[in-house]
């Protein structure tokens, strides 16, 4: 084993792994200095993750599977861990034999894995052992026995149509306890999902979530598209994060190909990511106000959001920044006029945004509704591995822009707002702070965007490579993990949207709150259904 390739920050952790688990490790692979793979058997997983967490504060960011039967006769299970302080990722890869297609659940020790493990079970047919609630999750109860992400399942398989809901929710009983079902078609202009509230009077006793109504077979589809087309698919994982998802995907491909986007492209990427952050945060700030009946603030927020979307159209040809991302950089360069427009935008929006925040802060009835509503306790947030805005509002000090600088984030100063209160007010406050931070990042980058090309040539992808692409989207961390196949194709693309991680936190935050506060609590998380369901 040779750890020379491992980045100096990550090396102490790698050495510790080698010391502690060395005799049980089959092989090491370090495709990139901040991305280390340890190949070992599955029984190592629990001890491995627990040790790294205790000793190095390393956290699990994803569990996923990969059908490697054609190449190596087995399925692979991956445990992806992020060492924030060491700016590196460690993967544990364990084989699962097709003869005994099962794996041991870690969800009892790491509740954050609950849904992800079940998704592996549903999509690959690997049976969970020891999971507290091993029911179906990603595929609804009426789906036939199919395993869509296995290689022998065709993308275009025709399944019998959905005949009706057969999911058995947990019964909550007691005097005066009512069940309030909501969805999948909701009252507002939002995505579909099903919520079942169990209430006693007004307070919510228990909230059950049922997602995956908009499962579109995206991960399977990635395996059928040439990479340039797959970028457009990545834009459609979650429309509000079009650019972030597409860029995370491009980042993965670039890392697999050992190509880096040129400095100017990285600068433009960061600007676009910040514009996406600004328009979504501003819209959410407005929507949170609407949900507590302060519509005027919402209208001003919508006006500001519109200004950002128009600027995006001027900069990329698309209001949602679609068509801008591309492999090896960005598709369109900006001329001096467009950069001037960018600077004029922040100059105009800064005072407007301050005035909006002042308007909201000045409304005592709004403050009253937001403070101490929907509290997500830091301890619970940590157990569930809550990331992004919701994580930072509940004490989790992390941000990929700072801890894993991608795009041009190594070129700018970033401060990360972190609060402990975990209520709606503070999820709003994180957004307010971040919008101001984004203005500053855009200004810093626009003032000195490096000259040069905006695109590097990628060429045909070498087969059999694995790579992780990552981006801090406005909602939280986005990961795209790929394995390349011969003929410039992908054998696997695993997508991890922060929403998947954060949904269970909503069930915790709403407990004890009254049903009429649910919309505002939900909006303060504003999770993506499509990003979750894919």
């Amino acid at each position: 084993m040779n750890l020379d390739r491992v980045s100096p920050d990550l090396r102490p952790i790698a050495e510790d792994i080698a010391r502690r688990f060395g005799n049980r490790i089959d092989a090491w692979d370090t495709p990139r200095p901040n991305e280390v793979y340890v190949h070992a058997s599955m029984d190592l997983a629990a001890g491995f993750c627990a040790h790294l967490h205790r000793r190095w504060n390393v956290r699990l960011i994803a569990v996923f599977a990969d059908d490697f039967r054609n190449e190596g006769g087995v399925f692979h299970l991956y445990y992806a861990l992020a060492a924030d302080a060491a700016h590196g990722f460690v993967f544990l890869r364990a084989p699962v034999s097709p003869d005994t297609p099962q794996f041991t659940s870690l969800a009892n020790a790491i509740p954050a894995l609950n849904w992800q493990e079940r998704e592996v079970q549903d999509m690959f047919g690997l049976k969970l052992v020891g999971h507290p609630n091993p029911r179906r999750c990603a595929l609804h109860d009426d789906w036939p026995e199919v395993y869509p992400l296995r290689k022998d399942f065709g993308l275009h398989t025709v399944l019998p149509p959905f005949q009706g809901e057969r999911h058995k929710f947990r019964q909550v009983e007691g005097e005066g306890v009512f069940q309030v079902p909501v969805g999948p078609v909701h009252a507002g202009i939002i995505e579909p999902g099903h919520f079942l509230f169990s209430v006693a009077g007004e307070p919510v006793l228990y909230l059950q979530l049922r997602m995956f109504y908009v499962h579109k077979g995206a991960e399977k589809l990635f395996e059928h598209l040439p990479p340039p087309h797959a970028v457009r698919l990545a834009e459609s994982i979650s429309g509000d994060s079009s650019f972030a998802h597409a860029t995370a995907f491009c980042h993965a491909i670039e890392r697999a190909a050992n190509v880096e986007a040129p400095p100017r492209a990285r600068g433009i990427r960061s600007v676009c990511l910040e514009l996406e952050r600004i328009y979504n945060h501003v819209a959410d700030i407005g929507a949170i106000c609407t949900d507590v009946a302060f519509v005027t603030a919402h209208m001003h927020a919508m006006r500001l959001k519109e200004a950002v979307l128009c600027a995006c159209e001027e900069l990329t040809g698309s209001r949602l920044l679609r068509g801008m991302a591309c492999l090896g950089g960005v598709r369109f360069d900006w001329d001096a006029g467009q950069i001037a427009l960018l600077r004029a935008l922040t100059a105009r929006l800064r005072p407007e945004f301050d005035s909006l925040v002042e308007l909201i802060d000045g409304s005592s009835s709004t403050r009253d509704r937001l403070e101490t509503t929907g509290i997500l306790q830091p301890k619970v947030a940590r157990d569930l591995g809550v990331v992004g805005i919701a994580g930072r509002a509940s004490g989790f000090d992390h941000d990929l822009r700072r801890d894993f600088p991608h795009a041009a984030y190594d070129q700018v100063k970033i401060s990360v707002p972190v609060y402990q209160a975990g209520d709606v007010k503070h999820r709003l406050q994180v957004r307010v702070d971040e919008v101001r931070e984004s203005f500053s990042i855009v200004e810093q980058l626009a003032a000195r965007l490096p000259a040069g090309p905006v695109r590097s040539e990628i060429g045909e992808l070498p087969a059999g490579r694995v790579a992780l692409g990552y981006v801090e989207g406005w909602r939280g961390e986005i990961f795209h993990w790929i394995r390349t196949a011969p003929g410039n194709r992908l054998a696997r693309c695993k997508i991890k949207d922060p929403s998947l991680q954060n949904w269970p936190a909503l069930s915790e935050a709403i407990l004890g709150n009254i049903v009429p506060d649910f919309p505002v609590v939900n909006k303060s998380f504003n999770l993506s259904y499509s990003g979750t369901d894919r």
Partner: protein, 291 residues
């Protein structure tokens, strides 16, 4: 209180004049692509570049039928990058009542190298439409004629329209722009049009897609719960034509594979002007303020 009032007054009116004035769209915006059919030398590069299959072709007997389906197009511009005969325009008002009218096609005589030799004059057969299960018959022909008359008169004379938005599988991009219609900039309520919380209160369903397998029944039920006369507007490349997802194990494809559609609004997502255009077109009011 006075602060709120003062801010509103000092902001002034920000609402677009559309449709009395043309849509305000950047010249850099990518709207519908335009193909110079007479100058098109070879459909293959553009078809290979197109991620959704909006541009496609079929060769038979020394001839090629090249086809462009606006319903499926995501306005990405990759075809224009690959082929000088294709140009991206910033035209966003693309809504159509008739699915077939979104498809254009031409026939070419083929050269030995597979490029087009010349355009064959006359309309090209648009018969390459992929087979799709028919939408369920909703009512008897007589009923449906009666419904149309009723609907037309009501839509022409009625001043108010209630819309229920249904996300049947979208990526939420369309929802962002639809939500924008309620902003002071597009202000859909100035037409007497409201978004409502229940299909039972609605005249129109605004549906985004692709319709997933898991949402198919919910969409049908929502449709059935909407009182007649009702109309359905399919929104976005996925809702109109299946988009980049198309039909796969988890999706049923476009909205009209599941319920009948009256108006199609292409785009990915459609610009809010395009949405207004489509909604007003559905109620025969797209000329509102222009005449």
């Amino acid at each position: 209180m006075f602060g709120i009032l003062g801010k509103s007054l000092s902001t002034g009116i920000v609402t677009t004049k559309y449709p009395a004035a043309p849509p305000k769209v950047s010249i850099r915006a990518r709207g519908r692509p335009e193909i110079d059919w007479t100058q098109w030398k070879d459909a293959r590069p553009a078809a290979a570049a197109c991620p959704t299959g909006a541009i496609s072709f079929q060769d038979a007997g020394g001839h090629r039928t090249a086809r462009f389906d606006l319903a499926q197009c995501i306005f990405c511009g990759l075809c224009a990058d690959a082929d000088p005969a294709i140009r991206m325009t910033n035209r966003v008002e693309c809504a159509a009542r008739d699915r077939a009218s979104l498809i254009s096609a031409a026939r070419y005589k083929l050269g030995d190298d597979g490029a087009h030799r010349q355009l064959v004059p006359g309309p090209a057969p648009v018969a390459t439409e992929p087979a799709r299960p028919p939408a369920p018959a909703v009512s008897s022909p007589l009923e449906s004629i009666g419904r149309q008359i009723q609907q037309r008169s009501r839509l022409i004379f009625g001043r108010s329209l209630h819309i229920r938005e249904v996300d049947a599988g979208s990526c939420n991009g369309c929802e962002i722009e639809i939500a924008g219609l309620n902003s002071p900039v597009y202000d859909i309520e100035r037409f007497g049009i409201h978004f409502v919380a229940s299909p039972r209160h609605a005249d129109m369903l605004l549906v985004t897609g692709p319709v997933t397998r898991n949402m198919e029944l919910a969409l049908r039920k929502t449709y059935d719960a909407t009182p007649e006369p009702r109309c359905v507007v399919a929104v976005g490349a996925c809702g109109c034509g299946g988009g980049i997802f198309g039909v796969n194990y988890a999706t049923r494809g476009p909205v009209d594979a599941v319920i009948p559609v009256d108006v199609y609004v292409p785009g990915c997502p459609p610009n809010p002007h395009a949405l207004l255009h489509g909604i007003l077109r559905a109620i025969h009011r797209e000329q509102w303020g222009r005449i």
